[in-house]
Symmetry: C2
Subunit: 427 residues, 2 copies
Amino acid sequence: MAGSRCKPPDAVVWPQNAEQVSRLAALCYGHGLPIIPFGTGTGLEGGVCAVQGGVCINLTMMDRILELNPEDFSVVVEPGVTHRALNTHLRASGLWFPVDPGADASLCGMAATRASGTNAVRYGTMRDNVLNLEVVLPDGRLLHTAGQGRHFRKSAAGYNLTGLFVGSEGTLGLITAATLRLHPTPEATVVATCAFPTVQAAVDSTVHILQAAVPVARIEFLDDVMMDACNKYSKLNYSVAPTLFFEFHGTKEALAEQVQRAEEITQNNGAFHFSWAKEAEERRQLWAARHNAWYSALALRPGSKGYSTDVCVPISRLPEILVQAKEDLKASGITGAIVGHVGDGNFHCILLVDPEDPEELHRVKVFAEQLGRRALALHGTCTGEHGIGLGKRHLLQEEVGAVGVQTMRQLKAVLDPKGLMNPGKVL
Amino acid sequence: MAGSRCKPPDAVVWPQNAEQVSRLAALCYGHGLPIIPFGTGTGLEGGVCAVQGGVCINLTMMDRILELNPEDFSVVVEPGVTHRALNTHLRASGLWFPVDPGADASLCGMAATRASGTNAVRYGTMRDNVLNLEVVLPDGRLLHTAGQGRHFRKSAAGYNLTGLFVGSEGTLGLITAATLRLHPTPEATVVATCAFPTVQAAVDSTVHILQAAVPVARIEFLDDVMMDACNKYSKLNYSVAPTLFFEFHGTKEALAEQVQRAEEITQNNGAFHFSWAKEAEERRQLWAARHNAWYSALALRPGSKGYSTDVCVPISRLPEILVQAKEDLKASGITGAIVGHVGDGNFHCILLVDPEDPEELHRVKVFAEQLGRRALALHGTCTGEHGIGLGKRHLLQEEVGAVGVQTMRQLKAVLDPKGLMNPGKVL
């Protein structure tokens, strides 16, 4: 819902290196001008809105891959490099970077928002895959969160500054380079899908698969409304029922076993049928529904705009919150489809809104807030991967409590005493 | 080397719950008394030394496992619970907590020092396995780093306070409960070992195994001196050569494949022979050398004390630093054996010191510092898992640079303005 409040900055600058970013930041800070870092602008929570005006520092011209260390499974990228660009560059190396938030976002922007996506159940989020950051602090000083040039796998040296800046949404400094952890490209991939009589059966299958230590790479949930939308949009013939989409990575032998286990578990939980595919074209067809989920949902109501919720709960609480969310949707008369990174307990309601209808916008906002509060009541979070941005600041307060917010404010105040770094966001 | 400087506190208190810890902290802080949190005292860097006197808050009487959520793969423990006690408690649940630093340390202490150990190559360190912390701040306020009662797998809500407190070594607050991420107990386990003609061949094998995405659970390196010590101590008959010890976790079918791949890779790198075992008693025998490494090293020189270095480097730089370390040991006339978590680039020189010989203590200190600087020069860290404590504060400054240390000092100053939380440590 951030879009409606978005304001343009007073100026946009395109620095070409960290030295220029540093001089720009020092200049803005000295003159009391707000600083808004900009990567690809693909964030969903209004993180690049210039609510107090100021200078947008657009980092897209810094798009070099600075250093690749294949034996160390690490790479250093500038803020203009997107995750797809990196994976294209890595193609011949036998390595890849698995975090994929859907949009072709910049990797430093993904670090700034602690992005995640469909592979997180196996490979973790940006929290787990950033080894070091080069950050221009608000006053222009250059910080290397783990020390300049360092790219070790682990350390116990002092406070985890990398972890502090990952997810800070541009409110503590500008990320001008990120050192990322790479993973070996899977030798082979199998995808699978199956439908269930109930949401509970789909979630139970997910828990059982995780408990059986099947190293599933992706496990995505689509509800009946979403499956119906996908059938219509992509002319497919799936059951209109709660459905799981799986992806498995491994050797051919290991994959056969993983798929067999997943099939057994889903069948024990009453799955209708289990289809799987190992060839690239078949895989693409089988996952078409999931890949086009966003556009399929939008097509349910041509002309509407999509708004995505982002709660995440302990996985045992997923069935009840999904059932509640569907009832709330019905009660509020909003068209919405559900897609979830179910292995992490994270799901999105894609809500369809007429941007010209303030009453409907209001209903959507009320629904999203209610859903956030339902997640909080179930020991969950109001944002699994999109961030707080502009619209969830009050929910953040409810989530971490008064002392949590006070502590965050103290950190913000000491690193950005004038409150000029991406003002109005997070806190 | 911290031991020689260690000082006792003026008083020790044994609170029984977080409320009492909070009142104690507020009382001490109000009176300007240093506060030293104490778990099991198994840390190696002098983290519990009361260098300025003050009150030691011994947390061992708070030893309850507060909450187990098997479907959510999470557990909440008080600071007196050790990792062995937790795993005993979990035995029937099908879950376990994999981080194992060797000593039977308390889990909250392990969180405070960002502990790690032999399983980190697959399961991560405390950084990756702490979901939430209850922290008593220096002034007595109670902080839940991820919000009270929350135990989701991921979140993008505000600053990562959990990450800030993990590894803060008691300098920002007292951890009074930790919510940990659990993992499914492996269905089966196989261990293996093989010897190599050179350190390079052992490290190359490690890199190739990681590149082949073999999900090895442990991969430990022992140098020739350590193998000789193990043979003597445990009356074994291993080759006196650089040696790798492996542990694999998985289903029986998956294990057969993992072991076969590892064997192929090590043989391609010139391994002498590859032995493996799957039954519990055989496994125990095969890993006896690794399990007793510390005591075997100490037995090289009866009456001596052991001091452990802890550098970690990008894995590609391991062979050169290991060769340098062995040459440095020789040149300085110090008896030392090497054991390493080679999959993470982390290794320990176990140095044998006569505690009554100040000249030898000095030589050991010079060697350890030189090794720390060698690691820093290779883009590594002076501490992979033991922490900074008292003795590595100057190396931390070299590691993270002036702006890094300034930033850490700012964070410390804002959360502990009187500088009373575990003073003299880290910064």
